[in-house]
């Protein structure tokens, strides 16, 4: 793999940048692989990278229906945080945040992880109780998260309106300083480049059409639009379309797929230095390095596979932003798009083996999967390589919906009396 550095950039500038190698090869599909990953998003590519890097499994194909990073990896609002309530979630997401910290160096690709702080606002007594419960739990789990009173919130985010002239005045906020953002496309490309360099084949425009099982029921091959591939291990990492792919192996998934919209403003000079989220007023906002305000909220109300949402959802998202930040009312929406998110009954992901020997699944990240990308890939690679879950993803089984050991992070959204 060519090394990327300022020096290399200088050197190759004098050759008119003619000597840069492709980020990844355009390999032909081989007839057999040790592991096939279905889905070339961030989680799938990270899985392939860690399979090669940490488990020495390099005879791996990542099959992508379209172009890598083109699903939710390239459509999300890039917020990274790990201040989750339950021990299981905190461990999983904090594993990711620790990997984010030196991901650029590990991949030799600048993914622009920017720990600018994520502040979650509280507007009601119930919000305060919930925030403090998170903060106490996080502290005892070794995850940074601190309570700020309204003045401290304002000091951290000067644009904030902490007066009582808004409908739901700000009563404080929970701040995770290690939280922040990263460049989503770079995550896909960085993992792809590093995985490719270790021998992983990234096959784009390759749709899986069937999953074949042998007489014992175990995985034996995957059929694609580019031909049949033999393999004994398949990892499905197909986000909003996981149910569709898993049904090819006769596994029914406890997932619902919803459109989730996001939008950006026109780019402006730095005006917003952190990430602010509000569950009660219901929106979140940050500013990208390019200068665009990046804004999102909740999913659309109805299940759908259409990668677009309804106008009234955008309306509610922006009225929330205008309520919190009235100086942004004259800013203008530049682009609005939708992705398809796969939601589990307890709003926590599934990182699990399945009843089908050789079939593994990584899905159910709902509206917040980007932040987990490195941790998810890391423990999923362990699960595929060893056949058993990593300590961290052991609770995130598919079976928990049968036995009731749920990890219900929607708890934070419970509403007061």
């Amino acid at each position: 793999m060519q090394t990327y550095s300022a020096l290399q950039l200088l050197r190759r500038a004098f050759g008119g940048h003619q000597s840069w190698e492709p980020l990844w090869r355009q390999p032909a599909l081989k007839p057999a692989y040790d592991v096939v990953i279905i889905g070339g998003g961030g989680h799938g590519l990270a899985t392939a990278y860690y399979l090669a890097k940490e488990h020495g499994i390099t005879n791996v194909a990542v099959l992508e229906k379209g172009w890598i990073g083109g699903g939710n990896t390239g459509r999300n609002t890039t917020i990274i945080r790990s201040n989750y309530l339950f021990d299981e979630s905190a461990a999983l997401y904090d594993h990711a945040v620790k990997l984010w910290d030196d991901l650029s160096q590990a991949l030799n690709y600048n993914v622009m992880y920017s720990a600018r702080g994520v502040m979650m606002l509280a507007h009601t007594v119930h919000d305060v109780q919930s925030a403090k419960r998170h903060i106490h739990a996080n502290r005892l789990n070794g995850v940074d998260n601190e309570w700020l009173d309204p003045e401290a919130c304002k000091a951290f985010c000067p644009e904030l309106n902490i007066s009582d002239n808004i409908r739901y005045p700000i009563m404080g906020g929970a701040l995770q300083r290690r939280g922040g953002t990263a460049r989503h496309d770079a995550v896909a490309w960085g993992y792809a480049r590093a995985a490719d360099a270790m021998g992983v084949d990234i096959i784009q425009n390759c749709e899986v059409t069937a999953i074949r099982r042998d007489a014992t029921g175990a995985i034996e091959a995957v059929e694609t639009t580019k031909g049949t591939v033999k393999t004994r291990k398949v990892g499905v990492v197909a986000a909003g379309h996981t149910s569709v792919v898993m049904s090819m192996a006769d596994v029914r998934m406890p997932l619902e797929s919803y459109p989730l919209q996001a939008l950006v403003s026109e780019p402006v000079k730095p005006t917003f230095t952190c990430v602010v989220m509000s569950n009660t007023i219901h929106a979140y906002i940050s500013q990208s390095d390019k200068g665009e305000l990046v804004i999102g909220a909740g999913t659309d109300a109805y299940t759908s596979y259409s990668q677009r949402g309804a106008l009234h959802i955008t309306e509610h998202t922006l009225d929330a932003i205008c309520e919190l930040f009235p100086m942004f009312r004259r800013m203008r929406m530049l682009r609005n798009w939708g992705g398809i998110v796969d939601v589990t009954p307890d709003r926590s992901p599934i990182l699990s083996k399945t009843a089908v020997p050789g079939l593994f699944v990584n899905c159910g990240w709902g509206t917040g999967g980007f932040k987990a990308t490195p941790g998810s890939g890391n423990v999923f690679a362990h699960t595929i390589a060893t056949g058993e879950p990593h300590r961290i993803n052991a609770p995130f089984t598919l079976d928990r919906f049968r036995d009731g050991t749920l990890i219900d992070e929607a708890a934070a959204a419970a509403v007061a009396h």
């Binding site: 990327y4 550095s5 300022a6 950039l9 004098f14 008119g16 940048h17 840069w20 492709p22 980020l23 355009q26 172009w67 890598i68 390239g74 021990d87 160096q105 690709y109 600048n110 600018r116 009601t124 119930h126 109780q129 998170h134 739990a137 502290r139 005892l140 002239n165 808004i166 409908r167 460049r183 496309d185 770079a186 490309w189 403003s265 026109e266 780019p267 402006v268 000079k269 730095p270 005006t271 200068g291 106008l311 309306e315 998202t317 009225d319 932003i321 205008c322 309520e323 009235p326 100086m327 942004f328 004259r330 800013m331 203008r332 682009r335 049968r402 036995d403 749920l406 007061a416 009396h417």
Partner: protein
Amino acid sequence: MSAPFRLATGGRIDRSKPLRFTFDGAAYTGFEGDTLASALIAGGVHLMGRSFKYHRPRGFLTAGPDEPNALVGVGASQDRYTPNLRAPVVELHDGLVAESQNRWPSLRFDAGAVNDLFSRFLPAGFYYKTFMWPKSFWKTVYEPKIRSMAGLGKAPTAPDADRYTQVYAHVDVLVVGAGPAGLAAALAAAESGRRVMLADEQPEVGGSLLHDVTATIEGRPAAAWVAETLAALEAKGVQVLTRTTAFGYYPHNMLGLLERVTDHYANPDPKLPRERLWQVRAGEVVLATGAIERPLVFPENDRPGILLADAARAYANRWAASVGKRVVIATACDSAYRTALDLKAHGIDVAVVADLRPMPIGPLVDAVRAAGIRVEAGTAVTGTRGRLRVRVAHLSRLDGRGGAHAPEPVACDALLMSGGWTPTVHLFSQSRGKLRFDEGLQAYVPSVSVEKERSAGGCNGVFDLAAVLADGYAAGESAARATRVRAPASRAFPVDGTHPVTGGHLGAVPHSRNPSAVKAFVDFQNDVTAKDLKLATREGLRSIEHVKRYTTTGMATDQGKTSNMNALGIVSEAIKAPIPQIGLTTFRAPYTPVTFGSFAGASRGDLFDPVRKTPSHSFAVEKGAPFENVGQWKRAWWYPRPGEDQHAAVRREVKAMRSSVGMFDASTLGKIEVVGPDAAAFMEMLYTNAWAKLGVGRCRYGVMLREDGFVMDDGVIGRLAADRFHVTTTTGGAPRVLNHMEDYLQTEFPHLAVWLTSITEQWAVTAVQGPKARDVIAALVEGVDLSDAALPHMSVVECRVCGVPARLFRVSFTGELGYEINVPADHGAAVWQAVYEAGQAYGITPYGTEAMHVARAEKGYIIVGQETDGTAGPDDVGLGWAIGKAKPDFVGKRALARPAMGAADRKQLVGLLTEDPATVLEEGAQIVADPVFEVPARMIGHVTSAYESPTLDRSIALAMVKGGRARMGETIYIPMPDRVIAAKVVAPVFYDQEGARLNG
């Protein structure tokens, strides 16, 4: 200041109405009808801004919303300042203040231009390859620097002073675009008599006809035909919206339109909103959105003074503004010849027309030659000179082998280019219609529709005026026919003075200069050059979406309107794949940027979310009560007496209620009437409890589970009749519970004859609680025996209170003798006041939500959402008794049977007493079994409620603790940041455990 480039005659400006304005502090004058761009061009100004990455000087490229370069900040004060506005669409008004962007210290001398000198080190995606060492520098040095260089304008810093509004409309036919095709379509649709709406983004209808001074339609000059057509449309009742951009095409023919109402006024009527957001549901849609001219991608094609050819024609014909004194035209398309002819007619020197095509032919070419203008075939511009304004164009004959001969320098002060026309298929594509690449036109055109729409005119790949009019009329006809009424007869529009145009070019223009040393811009605003695109393909980014994201081409504020097709051409050549194989990037709404405020509309401050007030609201205001936001409700938190803080007030309220009597406004509790012959059967399914045998006039505490077996809501439910239940819910849960009930009624139990009605707002509720409660209400209640025998705890009776119909509940959320008087909401305030007055003899004390919380915690009553969090089953919170064991089924029953629901280490509700009775725990604090621990600690639970109990005169808390009921008497620990607090596990009822006070 004078306007040296203002043409002596012509234009659609009103020369009797001069308008003064400033740009970067310098004063200028324009006329009514000018845009900021046309007025500045007339003033000789072309230097308008600096580009995003290299800070190169830039001028106007276009005369419309596709402008990538000339972006300005407009507004004299921060509360009316808007960044990034496109100067060609900013209408001039007197006193307008505009400034350039992305430059420091000034537009002419911009320090950021140093990037241009180092540009060879800053190829596409350079930031992915560097800024990684040392690691800490990303956050502290690199990212802040990159951020300050990026961005364009400055965000306003003060809250917006303007208002916005929203309009919803239904029409039979919506025509988008009022150029020739749109006008003809609207005519046809209007003749059918249906409701027709015609929307256009410009201040006046007419589109390209507004700058066509030679064409005639039906024997009249184009502009006159436009005026007559507009009058005819208005006479037929067509709703014509100007300054209105259709920005988004949403499912089921819902279009979003933004109407700009006041920005063009110097002193707008304060009653008017700044903008209106229209949400239009259309039976049929005609898209007549025209086409966008493409630049030519040649080296140094970005200097101020280099414009699109048709834009220069528009500035001259429509606004009487000349882009220069001596122009060079570079083209691959006939349409630029119209510009040559029109400019020459205005007396502007057209030095040469350089045509890429080896043998341009046709009537327009002949006319230009006949006018004495030099035409060079097979010739390209291969370079330009001029720092802040183009002054020389280098013309080179193409050698036919992908290169060019030595250049001839031609002096000029404007260079006009045309690479042909790109149909504006944005809305069509947003509607999910399928495009097809037309090899003849070298353009994507609409193919298969998904919505009920059709495209006409330029956006449909039709460019000849007579054909455009016919296409538009036919589209309007077809839309009218689809709405099932008599369609008008087809109609031909004879035209004259215009010629069909052909030609065009996609991709980079050939040249023989060192490709790595020159910059030929594709996306002007984002500074993406042809070599950036080639670099991306060399680096293996072959999907056009990857190329876009890697180079940022097409991602600027113009969304690639002028650049996407050229980028496609270059990528196609680089990876040796035909264009249709590469595909297009997705067109995203909005077509042009839309103000955030217009989406918010009136939804701000108190209107952001409806404020719901209880009947005692003004009473509470008079008493100086602070209010708590609970859902949409404002609830009195406590009623302070002079000198009292929260603590003292709550303490007094609880003590008074327990020793004598208190009153509380419980109107916010959700109320649902469940009515019908199968009401009891329905209740059996929705709540865990048994309902069939509940007697009329009796109440029961009900527990509702979600499908997953966790507690969703609770409340007291009274049976008013065999077929009628009065259900109460939590305040915040009311809408959720009604939705849940409706959902099950309609999808799972449709065979049950049950009707659900929300009655939360129909009944006001005054709770009277305390040992003297009966004495207080006795005088107010008519005809009911209030004795414990006749109306025991958990009863309900319909009666009259204070002379109005009432539902009187004997219930308690405090542990004391209590009543809840439900009366029709209109009488709520009067009854509240009557109770207050009747209670004076007993020292009745109004109490707020905080005292209510404390009192119920003393009794160990849970609050759903506080003790429960969506992970607590009924048994976990001590409500196992409320599960009807004999019931065959209820929602959540199956989930309760899952193994984990019966595990011994589930979190269970307990009481906590701190070792130090003065220490009040913090709600949300976590609990450990061992005071000595390492992080990550093993947590066994958390504190859900904690108060200083006025009744016990010590701190109390409720908590959810793993295996809690087996830990009674154990000491557990609550680690705080600065200390560890010890507490004893006790039963969760701190007061009157036997319940004697309820039954007094």
